[in-house]
Amino acid sequence: METKKISKVDLIFEHIDPREVLTKAYGMTRDEIIDEILESGLKGRGGAGFPTGMKWKLCSEEKEKTKYIICNADEGEPGTFKDREILDRVAYKVYAGMTIAGKAVGAKKGIIYLRGEYKFLLPQLRMQLDGFLKMSNEIGYDFEIDFRLGSGAYICGEESALFESIEGKRGEPRNKPPYPTHSGLFGKPTVVNNVETLVNSVIILKYGSKKYKQMGTMFSTGAKVFSVSGDTPIPGIYELELGMSLLEFVKEFGDGDTKAVQVGGAAGFCVPRKLFASTVIGFEGVPTGGSMKLFNSSRSMYNVLHNYLEFFTEESCGQCTPCRVGCQQLLRGVESVKKRESKSTYLNELVKLADTMKIASKCGLGQSVGNAFKSIVENFREEIIY
Protein backbone atom coordinates (compact mmCIF):
# COMPACT_ATOMS: atom_id res chain seq x y z
CA MET A 1 0.00 0.00 0.00
CA GLU A 2 1.17 3.49 -0.80
CA THR A 3 2.10 5.59 2.20
CA LYS A 4 3.01 9.19 2.72
CA LYS A 5 5.87 10.81 4.58
CA ILE A 6 5.10 12.58 7.84
CA SER A 7 3.66 15.94 7.02
CA LYS A 8 2.76 18.42 9.74
CA VAL A 9 0.04 20.92 9.04
CA ASP A 10 -1.51 23.74 11.00
CA LEU A 11 -5.16 24.12 10.08
CA ILE A 12 -7.16 23.10 13.14
CA PHE A 13 -5.44 25.52 15.53
CA GLU A 14 -4.78 28.26 12.97
CA HIS A 15 -6.61 31.45 13.86
CA ILE A 16 -9.12 32.57 11.27
CA ASP A 17 -11.84 35.17 11.04
CA PRO A 18 -14.97 33.10 11.70
CA ARG A 19 -17.14 35.92 10.39
CA GLU A 20 -15.72 35.37 6.90
CA VAL A 21 -16.56 31.64 6.75
CA LEU A 22 -19.95 32.12 8.38
CA THR A 23 -20.84 34.84 5.89
CA LYS A 24 -19.71 32.66 3.01
CA ALA A 25 -21.80 29.71 4.24
CA TYR A 26 -24.75 31.99 4.84
CA GLY A 27 -24.73 32.87 1.16
CA MET A 28 -24.74 29.19 0.10
CA THR A 29 -27.77 26.93 -0.24
CA ARG A 30 -28.14 23.92 2.03
CA ASP A 31 -27.31 21.59 -0.84
CA GLU A 32 -24.25 23.60 -1.80
CA ILE A 33 -22.85 23.28 1.72
CA ILE A 34 -23.57 19.55 1.85
CA ASP A 35 -22.07 18.99 -1.61
CA GLU A 36 -18.89 20.77 -0.59
CA ILE A 37 -18.52 18.55 2.48
CA LEU A 38 -19.38 15.41 0.48
CA GLU A 39 -16.87 16.40 -2.17
CA SER A 40 -14.11 16.86 0.43
CA GLY A 41 -14.33 13.19 1.44
CA LEU A 42 -14.32 14.20 5.13
CA LYS A 43 -14.90 11.26 7.46
CA GLY A 44 -15.82 11.54 11.13
CA ARG A 45 -12.91 12.17 13.48
CA GLY A 46 -14.56 10.58 16.53
CA GLY A 47 -13.45 7.08 15.64
CA ALA A 48 -16.17 5.47 13.53
CA GLY A 49 -15.27 7.39 10.36
CA PHE A 50 -18.71 7.83 8.83
CA PRO A 51 -18.69 10.26 5.86
CA THR A 52 -19.75 13.61 7.31
CA GLY A 53 -21.40 14.95 4.15
CA MET A 54 -23.56 11.83 3.95
CA LYS A 55 -24.63 12.22 7.58
CA TRP A 56 -25.63 15.83 6.98
CA LYS A 57 -27.45 14.91 3.77
CA LEU A 58 -29.48 12.16 5.45
CA CYS A 59 -30.51 14.49 8.24
CA SER A 60 -31.25 17.30 5.82
CA GLU A 61 -33.67 15.08 3.91
CA GLU A 62 -35.77 14.40 7.02
CA LYS A 63 -39.08 16.25 7.03
CA GLU A 64 -39.30 16.92 10.79
CA LYS A 65 -39.33 20.57 11.87
CA THR A 66 -37.20 20.10 14.99
CA LYS A 67 -33.68 18.80 14.44
CA TYR A 68 -30.53 18.87 16.53
CA ILE A 69 -26.81 19.26 16.01
CA ILE A 70 -24.76 17.63 18.73
CA CYS A 71 -21.09 18.20 19.24
CA ASN A 72 -19.60 15.15 20.88
CA ALA A 73 -17.02 16.44 23.37
CA ASP A 74 -17.13 13.38 25.62
CA GLU A 75 -13.58 12.41 24.63
CA GLY A 76 -13.30 9.35 26.84
CA GLU A 77 -11.17 7.08 24.68
CA PRO A 78 -7.98 6.35 26.63
CA GLY A 79 -5.13 8.30 25.10
CA THR A 80 -7.23 11.00 23.46
CA PHE A 81 -6.94 14.61 24.59
CA LYS A 82 -7.17 16.61 21.39
CA ASP A 83 -10.81 17.69 21.66
CA ARG A 84 -10.07 19.49 24.91
CA GLU A 85 -7.16 21.27 23.27
CA ILE A 86 -9.37 22.30 20.33
CA LEU A 87 -12.06 23.62 22.67
CA ASP A 88 -9.48 25.37 24.80
CA ARG A 89 -7.77 27.10 21.89
CA VAL A 90 -10.29 27.54 19.06
CA ALA A 91 -13.78 26.94 20.46
CA TYR A 92 -15.19 29.52 18.04
CA LYS A 93 -14.39 27.17 15.18
CA VAL A 94 -16.43 24.44 16.86
CA TYR A 95 -19.35 26.83 17.30
CA ALA A 96 -19.00 27.89 13.66
CA GLY A 97 -19.02 24.27 12.49
CA MET A 98 -22.18 23.56 14.46
CA THR A 99 -23.87 26.67 13.12
CA ILE A 100 -23.02 25.76 9.54
CA ALA A 101 -24.15 22.16 10.09
CA GLY A 102 -27.39 23.59 11.50
CA LYS A 103 -27.97 25.58 8.37
CA ALA A 104 -27.13 22.61 6.14
CA VAL A 105 -29.58 20.21 7.78
CA GLY A 106 -32.20 22.72 8.90
CA ALA A 107 -31.59 22.60 12.67
CA LYS A 108 -31.95 25.55 15.01
CA LYS A 109 -30.49 24.04 18.14
CA GLY A 110 -27.06 22.73 18.95
CA ILE A 111 -25.82 21.03 22.10
CA ILE A 112 -22.23 20.45 23.14
CA TYR A 113 -21.93 17.38 25.35
CA LEU A 114 -18.81 18.07 27.38
CA ARG A 115 -17.36 15.35 29.57
CA GLY A 116 -17.49 16.11 33.29
CA GLU A 117 -13.71 15.83 33.48
CA TYR A 118 -13.49 19.01 31.36
CA LYS A 119 -15.92 21.04 33.42
CA PHE A 120 -13.18 23.47 34.38
CA LEU A 121 -13.31 24.77 30.78
CA LEU A 122 -16.97 25.68 30.97
CA PRO A 123 -16.79 29.32 32.22
CA GLN A 124 -14.32 30.21 29.47
CA LEU A 125 -16.36 28.37 26.81
CA ARG A 126 -19.62 30.04 27.87
CA MET A 127 -18.04 33.48 27.67
CA GLN A 128 -16.67 32.84 24.20
CA LEU A 129 -20.01 31.43 23.12
CA ASP A 130 -21.81 34.65 24.08
CA GLY A 131 -19.55 36.65 21.77
CA PHE A 132 -19.92 34.10 19.03
CA LEU A 133 -23.70 34.05 19.14
CA LYS A 134 -23.81 37.84 18.87
CA MET A 135 -21.74 37.65 15.73
CA SER A 136 -23.64 34.78 14.12
CA ASN A 137 -26.93 36.55 14.83
CA GLU A 138 -25.63 39.69 13.16
CA ILE A 139 -24.84 37.68 10.05
CA GLY A 140 -28.39 36.37 10.07
CA TYR A 141 -28.11 32.90 11.63
CA ASP A 142 -30.86 31.77 13.94
CA PHE A 143 -29.02 28.99 15.75
CA GLU A 144 -28.57 28.52 19.48
CA ILE A 145 -25.93 26.49 21.24
CA ASP A 146 -26.05 25.06 24.73
CA PHE A 147 -23.82 22.92 26.92
CA ARG A 148 -24.62 19.69 28.71
CA LEU A 149 -22.14 18.01 31.01
CA GLY A 150 -21.32 14.35 31.32
CA SER A 151 -20.69 12.79 34.72
CA GLY A 152 -17.90 10.30 34.26
CA ALA A 153 -19.15 7.57 31.92
CA TYR A 154 -17.11 6.55 28.86
CA ILE A 155 -20.13 4.96 27.22
CA CYS A 156 -21.86 8.34 26.94
CA GLY A 157 -19.52 9.12 24.03
CA GLU A 158 -21.49 6.53 22.06
CA GLU A 159 -24.03 8.67 20.28
CA SER A 160 -27.26 6.99 21.36
CA ALA A 161 -26.06 6.69 24.97
CA LEU A 162 -25.29 10.37 24.73
CA PHE A 163 -28.93 11.07 23.79
CA GLU A 164 -30.13 9.03 26.75
CA SER A 165 -27.82 10.97 29.04
CA ILE A 166 -29.06 14.35 27.81
CA GLU A 167 -32.62 13.09 28.22
CA GLY A 168 -31.85 12.46 31.90
CA LYS A 169 -31.46 8.70 31.86
CA ARG A 170 -28.83 6.04 32.34
CA GLY A 171 -26.38 6.20 29.45
CA GLU A 172 -27.43 2.93 27.84
CA PRO A 173 -27.05 2.73 24.05
CA ARG A 174 -30.16 2.23 21.94
CA ASN A 175 -30.76 -0.31 19.24
CA LYS A 176 -29.89 0.77 15.70
CA PRO A 177 -31.70 1.32 13.41
CA PRO A 178 -33.25 3.81 13.69
CA TYR A 179 -30.13 5.90 13.14
CA PRO A 180 -29.71 9.30 14.77
CA THR A 181 -30.18 11.20 11.50
CA HIS A 182 -33.72 9.80 11.50
CA SER A 183 -34.48 9.46 15.20
CA GLY A 184 -31.95 10.85 17.64
CA LEU A 185 -32.25 13.22 20.59
CA PHE A 186 -35.89 13.27 21.83
CA GLY A 187 -36.67 11.11 18.79
CA LYS A 188 -35.83 13.95 16.39
CA PRO A 189 -33.41 13.85 13.46
CA THR A 190 -29.97 14.55 14.89
CA VAL A 191 -26.46 15.00 13.60
CA VAL A 192 -23.76 13.96 16.06
CA ASN A 193 -20.28 15.05 15.13
CA ASN A 194 -16.99 14.98 16.93
CA VAL A 195 -15.39 18.30 17.92
CA GLU A 196 -12.62 17.92 15.35
CA THR A 197 -15.02 16.92 12.55
CA LEU A 198 -16.93 20.16 13.03
CA VAL A 199 -13.75 22.20 12.83
CA ASN A 200 -12.81 20.35 9.66
CA SER A 201 -16.09 21.37 8.06
CA VAL A 202 -15.13 25.00 8.69
CA ILE A 203 -11.71 24.44 7.15
CA ILE A 204 -13.33 22.86 4.09
CA LEU A 205 -15.72 25.75 3.59
CA LYS A 206 -12.91 28.24 4.01
CA TYR A 207 -10.40 26.67 1.65
CA GLY A 208 -12.67 24.62 -0.60
CA SER A 209 -12.93 20.85 -0.91
CA LYS A 210 -10.41 20.73 -3.78
CA LYS A 211 -7.63 22.14 -1.67
CA TYR A 212 -8.66 20.04 1.32
CA LYS A 213 -8.48 16.83 -0.70
CA GLN A 214 -4.89 17.51 -1.63
CA MET A 215 -4.04 16.50 1.91
CA GLY A 216 -4.08 12.88 2.97
CA THR A 217 -4.93 9.99 0.66
CA MET A 218 -7.87 9.02 -1.52
CA PHE A 219 -9.61 7.14 1.30
CA SER A 220 -8.43 9.37 4.12
CA THR A 221 -8.58 12.95 2.98
CA GLY A 222 -7.30 15.79 5.09
CA ALA A 223 -5.29 15.90 8.25
CA LYS A 224 -5.92 14.68 11.77
CA VAL A 225 -5.02 15.78 15.23
CA PHE A 226 -3.05 13.04 16.97
CA SER A 227 -2.78 12.66 20.72
CA VAL A 228 0.66 11.14 21.28
CA SER A 229 1.56 9.59 24.64
CA GLY A 230 3.36 6.75 26.33
CA ASP A 231 7.05 6.05 25.74
CA THR A 232 7.91 9.06 23.64
CA PRO A 233 10.28 11.93 24.32
CA ILE A 234 7.74 14.37 22.87
CA PRO A 235 4.22 13.57 24.11
CA GLY A 236 1.57 16.02 23.00
CA ILE A 237 -0.79 17.05 20.24
CA TYR A 238 0.22 17.02 16.59
CA GLU A 239 -1.73 17.70 13.42
CA LEU A 240 -0.54 15.39 10.66
CA GLU A 241 -1.76 14.43 7.21
CA LEU A 242 -3.46 11.05 7.13
CA GLY A 243 -1.95 8.14 5.25
CA MET A 244 1.55 7.90 6.74
CA SER A 245 2.97 4.53 7.67
CA LEU A 246 3.29 3.68 11.33
CA LEU A 247 7.03 3.30 10.75
CA GLU A 248 7.28 6.96 9.74
CA PHE A 249 5.28 7.85 12.81
CA VAL A 250 7.49 5.86 15.13
CA LYS A 251 10.65 7.38 13.60
CA GLU A 252 9.27 10.79 14.50
CA PHE A 253 7.80 10.07 17.92
CA GLY A 254 9.43 6.89 19.23
CA ASP A 255 12.24 6.70 21.76
CA GLY A 256 14.33 4.36 19.62
CA ASP A 257 13.02 1.30 21.44
CA THR A 258 9.34 1.19 20.45
CA LYS A 259 8.00 -2.36 20.47
CA ALA A 260 4.31 -1.62 19.90
CA VAL A 261 1.88 1.19 19.24
CA GLN A 262 -1.73 1.12 20.35
CA VAL A 263 -3.55 2.94 17.55
CA GLY A 264 -7.03 4.27 18.37
CA GLY A 265 -7.09 3.88 22.13
CA ALA A 266 -8.33 0.96 24.18
CA ALA A 267 -10.96 0.33 21.50
CA GLY A 268 -8.24 0.30 18.82
CA PHE A 269 -5.50 -2.04 17.67
CA CYS A 270 -2.09 -2.89 19.02
CA VAL A 271 0.49 -2.97 16.22
CA PRO A 272 3.79 -4.76 16.92
CA ARG A 273 7.14 -3.58 15.56
CA LYS A 274 7.24 -6.10 12.71
CA LEU A 275 4.10 -4.55 11.22
CA PHE A 276 5.08 -0.86 11.54
CA ALA A 277 6.21 -0.56 7.92
CA SER A 278 3.11 -2.17 6.43
CA THR A 279 0.56 -0.35 8.59
CA VAL A 280 -1.07 2.75 7.18
CA ILE A 281 -2.65 5.22 9.58
CA GLY A 282 -5.95 6.09 8.01
CA PHE A 283 -9.29 4.61 7.06
CA GLU A 284 -7.66 2.28 4.50
CA GLY A 285 -5.37 0.87 7.20
CA VAL A 286 -5.73 1.28 10.94
CA PRO A 287 -8.13 4.12 11.70
CA THR A 288 -7.82 6.21 14.83
CA GLY A 289 -9.73 8.88 16.66
CA GLY A 290 -6.27 10.25 17.31
CA SER A 291 -5.01 8.18 20.22
CA MET A 292 -1.44 6.95 19.63
CA LYS A 293 0.25 5.21 22.56
CA LEU A 294 3.81 4.07 22.25
CA PHE A 295 5.21 1.23 24.32
CA ASN A 296 8.92 0.44 24.56
CA SER A 297 10.55 -2.86 25.39
CA SER A 298 10.48 -2.17 29.14
CA ARG A 299 6.69 -2.51 29.16
CA SER A 300 4.76 -5.68 29.85
CA MET A 301 2.01 -6.09 27.27
CA TYR A 302 0.18 -8.21 29.84
CA ASN A 303 -0.11 -5.12 32.02
CA VAL A 304 -1.30 -3.09 29.06
CA LEU A 305 -3.96 -5.64 28.17
CA HIS A 306 -4.99 -6.06 31.80
CA ASN A 307 -5.38 -2.30 32.17
CA TYR A 308 -7.58 -2.11 29.06
CA LEU A 309 -9.76 -5.00 30.19
CA GLU A 310 -10.25 -3.41 33.61
CA PHE A 311 -11.23 -0.24 31.80
CA PHE A 312 -13.85 -1.99 29.67
CA THR A 313 -15.17 -4.06 32.55
CA GLU A 314 -15.83 -0.88 34.50
CA GLU A 315 -17.14 1.16 31.60
CA SER A 316 -19.42 -1.44 30.01
CA CYS A 317 -22.94 -0.15 30.65
CA GLY A 318 -24.00 -3.66 31.61
CA GLN A 319 -27.13 -3.60 29.50
CA CYS A 320 -26.28 -6.45 27.13
CA THR A 321 -24.90 -9.76 28.32
CA PRO A 322 -22.18 -10.35 25.70
CA CYS A 323 -20.43 -7.14 26.67
CA ARG A 324 -21.06 -7.18 30.42
CA VAL A 325 -20.12 -10.81 31.00
CA GLY A 326 -17.66 -10.93 28.11
CA CYS A 327 -15.49 -8.14 29.52
CA GLN A 328 -15.42 -9.78 32.95
CA GLN A 329 -14.55 -13.19 31.54
CA LEU A 330 -11.76 -11.86 29.32
CA LEU A 331 -10.26 -10.12 32.34
CA ARG A 332 -10.55 -13.20 34.58
CA GLY A 333 -9.36 -15.35 31.74
CA VAL A 334 -6.05 -13.60 31.18
CA GLU A 335 -5.50 -13.43 34.93
CA SER A 336 -6.02 -17.17 35.26
CA VAL A 337 -3.62 -17.93 32.40
CA LYS A 338 -1.01 -15.67 33.97
CA LYS A 339 -1.43 -17.39 37.34
CA ARG A 340 -1.22 -20.81 35.65
CA GLU A 341 -4.72 -21.67 36.81
CA SER A 342 -5.63 -22.20 33.16
CA LYS A 343 -3.61 -23.66 30.32
CA SER A 344 -2.20 -21.28 27.73
CA THR A 345 -4.54 -22.82 25.14
CA TYR A 346 -7.37 -21.22 27.11
CA LEU A 347 -6.35 -18.03 25.30
CA ASN A 348 -7.80 -19.54 22.12
CA GLU A 349 -11.17 -19.87 23.85
CA LEU A 350 -10.93 -16.27 24.97
CA VAL A 351 -10.25 -15.17 21.40
CA LYS A 352 -13.44 -16.96 20.38
CA LEU A 353 -15.29 -15.12 23.11
CA ALA A 354 -13.93 -11.81 21.83
CA ASP A 355 -15.19 -12.75 18.35
CA THR A 356 -18.63 -13.52 19.77
CA MET A 357 -18.69 -10.18 21.56
CA LYS A 358 -17.99 -8.47 18.27
CA ILE A 359 -21.04 -10.07 16.68
CA ALA A 360 -23.42 -10.12 19.62
CA SER A 361 -22.81 -6.85 21.50
CA LYS A 362 -25.30 -4.07 21.10
CA CYS A 363 -22.92 -1.17 20.61
CA GLY A 364 -19.42 -0.23 19.63
CA LEU A 365 -18.02 -0.74 23.12
CA GLY A 366 -18.53 -4.49 23.29
CA GLN A 367 -17.89 -4.80 19.57
CA SER A 368 -14.43 -3.31 19.82
CA VAL A 369 -13.06 -4.94 22.97
CA GLY A 370 -11.76 -7.72 20.75
CA ASN A 371 -9.58 -5.30 18.75
CA ALA A 372 -7.08 -4.70 21.52
CA PHE A 373 -7.59 -8.15 23.00
CA LYS A 374 -6.87 -10.08 19.84
CA SER A 375 -4.08 -7.89 18.56
CA ILE A 376 -2.23 -8.06 21.89
CA VAL A 377 -2.84 -11.79 22.49
CA GLU A 378 -1.87 -12.70 18.93
CA ASN A 379 1.26 -10.56 18.76
CA PHE A 380 2.50 -10.87 22.34
CA ARG A 381 1.29 -14.29 23.37
CA GLU A 382 4.43 -15.15 25.38
CA GLU A 383 4.07 -11.99 27.43
CA ILE A 384 0.52 -12.91 28.34
CA ILE A 385 1.44 -16.46 29.35
CA TYR A 386 4.81 -16.05 31.10
Binding site: E77, G79, R84, G150, S151, G152, G168, R170
Partner: protein, 154 residues
Amino acid sequence: MYQTDNLVKDLVEKHGRQRDSLMPILQGIVEKHNYLTDEAMVEVAQELDISAAEVYGTASFYSFLDTEPRGKYVIRVCKTITCAMKGKEEVIEALEDILKIKVGGTTSNGLFTLLETNCMGWCHKAPAMLINDIPYTELTREKIIKIIKDYMHK
Protein backbone atom coordinates in the same frame (compact mmCIF):
# COMPACT_ATOMS: atom_id res chain seq x y z
CA MET B 1 -25.70 14.13 55.90
CA TYR B 2 -26.60 17.58 54.67
CA GLN B 3 -29.73 19.68 54.32
CA THR B 4 -30.66 20.60 50.79
CA ASP B 5 -32.53 23.64 52.14
CA ASN B 6 -33.72 25.38 49.05
CA LEU B 7 -31.04 23.98 46.78
CA VAL B 8 -33.25 21.45 45.01
CA LYS B 9 -36.02 24.01 44.55
CA ASP B 10 -33.57 26.56 43.20
CA LEU B 11 -32.10 24.05 40.77
CA VAL B 12 -35.55 23.00 39.60
CA GLU B 13 -36.41 26.66 39.14
CA LYS B 14 -33.30 27.12 37.04
CA HIS B 15 -33.42 23.97 34.91
CA GLY B 16 -37.13 23.17 34.76
CA ARG B 17 -39.23 20.16 35.63
CA GLN B 18 -38.76 18.12 32.46
CA ARG B 19 -37.06 14.77 32.65
CA ASP B 20 -34.05 16.12 30.76
CA SER B 21 -33.40 18.54 33.64
CA LEU B 22 -32.51 15.59 35.83
CA MET B 23 -28.78 15.47 35.05
CA PRO B 24 -28.18 19.23 35.49
CA ILE B 25 -30.12 19.12 38.77
CA LEU B 26 -28.19 16.15 40.14
CA GLN B 27 -24.93 17.71 38.95
CA GLY B 28 -25.90 20.92 40.72
CA ILE B 29 -26.44 19.09 44.00
CA VAL B 30 -23.13 17.26 43.69
CA GLU B 31 -21.35 20.51 42.88
CA LYS B 32 -22.53 21.93 46.19
CA HIS B 33 -22.47 18.87 48.47
CA ASN B 34 -20.22 16.38 46.61
CA TYR B 35 -22.72 13.53 46.83
CA LEU B 36 -26.42 12.73 46.69
CA THR B 37 -28.30 11.78 49.86
CA ASP B 38 -31.42 9.62 49.69
CA GLU B 39 -33.41 12.63 50.91
CA ALA B 40 -32.08 14.82 48.11
CA MET B 41 -32.93 12.19 45.48
CA VAL B 42 -36.44 11.75 46.86
CA GLU B 43 -36.95 15.49 46.79
CA VAL B 44 -35.80 15.67 43.17
CA ALA B 45 -38.16 12.82 42.31
CA GLN B 46 -41.09 14.67 43.87
CA GLU B 47 -40.23 17.90 42.08
CA LEU B 48 -39.93 16.22 38.68
CA ASP B 49 -42.85 13.90 39.38
CA ILE B 50 -40.91 10.74 38.62
CA SER B 51 -40.21 7.77 40.87
CA ALA B 52 -37.28 7.90 43.27
CA ALA B 53 -36.08 4.67 41.66
CA GLU B 54 -35.72 6.51 38.35
CA VAL B 55 -33.61 9.17 40.02
CA TYR B 56 -31.45 6.65 41.85
CA GLY B 57 -31.21 4.49 38.72
CA THR B 58 -29.87 7.43 36.76
CA ALA B 59 -27.55 8.73 39.47
CA SER B 60 -26.02 5.33 40.17
CA PHE B 61 -25.05 4.94 36.52
CA TYR B 62 -22.63 7.87 36.60
CA SER B 63 -19.36 7.64 38.47
CA PHE B 64 -19.32 11.38 39.23
CA LEU B 65 -22.82 11.31 40.74
CA ASP B 66 -21.86 9.72 44.02
CA THR B 67 -24.58 8.33 46.23
CA GLU B 68 -22.24 7.71 49.16
CA PRO B 69 -20.88 10.40 51.49
CA ARG B 70 -17.86 12.20 50.05
CA GLY B 71 -15.46 14.76 51.44
CA LYS B 72 -15.42 18.41 50.50
CA TYR B 73 -12.59 17.74 48.09
CA VAL B 74 -12.92 14.62 45.99
CA ILE B 75 -9.57 13.50 44.60
CA ARG B 76 -9.73 11.27 41.54
CA VAL B 77 -6.44 9.77 40.41
CA CYS B 78 -6.25 8.52 36.84
CA LYS B 79 -5.43 4.80 36.67
CA THR B 80 -5.55 4.20 32.94
CA ILE B 81 -2.54 2.89 31.09
CA THR B 82 -0.33 5.94 30.50
CA CYS B 83 -0.80 7.27 34.03
CA ALA B 84 -0.28 3.70 35.29
CA MET B 85 3.02 3.57 33.36
CA LYS B 86 4.15 6.99 34.53
CA GLY B 87 3.81 6.67 38.27
CA LYS B 88 0.16 6.46 39.27
CA GLU B 89 1.10 4.06 42.08
CA GLU B 90 3.49 6.62 43.59
CA VAL B 91 0.76 9.24 43.38
CA ILE B 92 -1.62 7.02 45.31
CA GLU B 93 1.07 6.19 47.87
CA ALA B 94 1.87 9.86 48.40
CA LEU B 95 -1.80 10.73 48.84
CA GLU B 96 -2.41 7.81 51.18
CA ASP B 97 0.60 8.90 53.28
CA ILE B 98 -0.47 12.51 53.56
CA LEU B 99 -4.17 11.92 54.02
CA LYS B 100 -3.83 8.73 56.09
CA ILE B 101 -6.63 7.04 54.17
CA LYS B 102 -6.82 4.31 51.55
CA VAL B 103 -8.37 4.57 48.10
CA GLY B 104 -12.13 4.78 48.62
CA GLY B 105 -11.78 6.42 52.03
CA THR B 106 -12.62 9.86 53.38
CA THR B 107 -10.54 11.73 55.97
CA SER B 108 -12.12 11.91 59.41
CA ASN B 109 -12.45 15.70 59.19
CA GLY B 110 -14.59 15.21 56.08
CA LEU B 111 -12.25 17.23 53.88
CA PHE B 112 -10.84 14.71 51.41
CA THR B 113 -12.06 11.59 49.63
CA LEU B 114 -9.54 9.57 47.62
CA LEU B 115 -10.76 7.73 44.52
CA GLU B 116 -9.41 6.34 41.26
CA THR B 117 -10.90 7.11 37.88
CA ASN B 118 -10.47 6.15 34.25
CA CYS B 119 -8.62 8.13 31.58
CA MET B 120 -9.30 11.82 31.97
CA GLY B 121 -7.37 13.00 28.95
CA TRP B 122 -4.02 14.12 30.34
CA CYS B 123 -1.89 11.22 29.08
CA HIS B 124 0.75 13.58 27.66
CA LYS B 125 1.18 15.06 31.13
CA ALA B 126 0.84 11.88 33.18
CA PRO B 127 0.35 11.14 35.99
CA ALA B 128 -2.75 13.21 36.58
CA MET B 129 -5.56 13.71 39.07
CA LEU B 130 -8.68 15.80 39.50
CA ILE B 131 -9.61 17.57 42.73
CA ASN B 132 -13.30 18.31 42.31
CA ASP B 133 -13.21 19.96 38.85
CA ILE B 134 -9.58 21.04 38.73
CA PRO B 135 -7.00 18.86 36.94
CA TYR B 136 -3.45 18.54 38.26
CA THR B 137 -0.83 17.01 35.99
CA GLU B 138 2.79 15.83 35.84
CA LEU B 139 2.50 14.94 39.49
CA THR B 140 5.44 14.29 41.77
CA ARG B 141 5.45 13.60 45.49
CA GLU B 142 6.60 17.16 46.23
CA LYS B 143 3.92 18.65 44.00
CA ILE B 144 1.22 16.54 45.63
CA ILE B 145 2.26 17.55 49.15
CA LYS B 146 2.07 21.20 48.17
CA ILE B 147 -1.31 20.85 46.45
CA ILE B 148 -2.88 19.04 49.39
CA LYS B 149 -1.43 21.52 51.92
CA ASP B 150 -2.98 24.35 49.91
CA TYR B 151 -6.36 22.66 50.07
CA MET B 152 -6.00 22.02 53.79
CA HIS B 153 -5.58 25.73 54.36
CA LYS B 154 -8.32 26.86 52.04
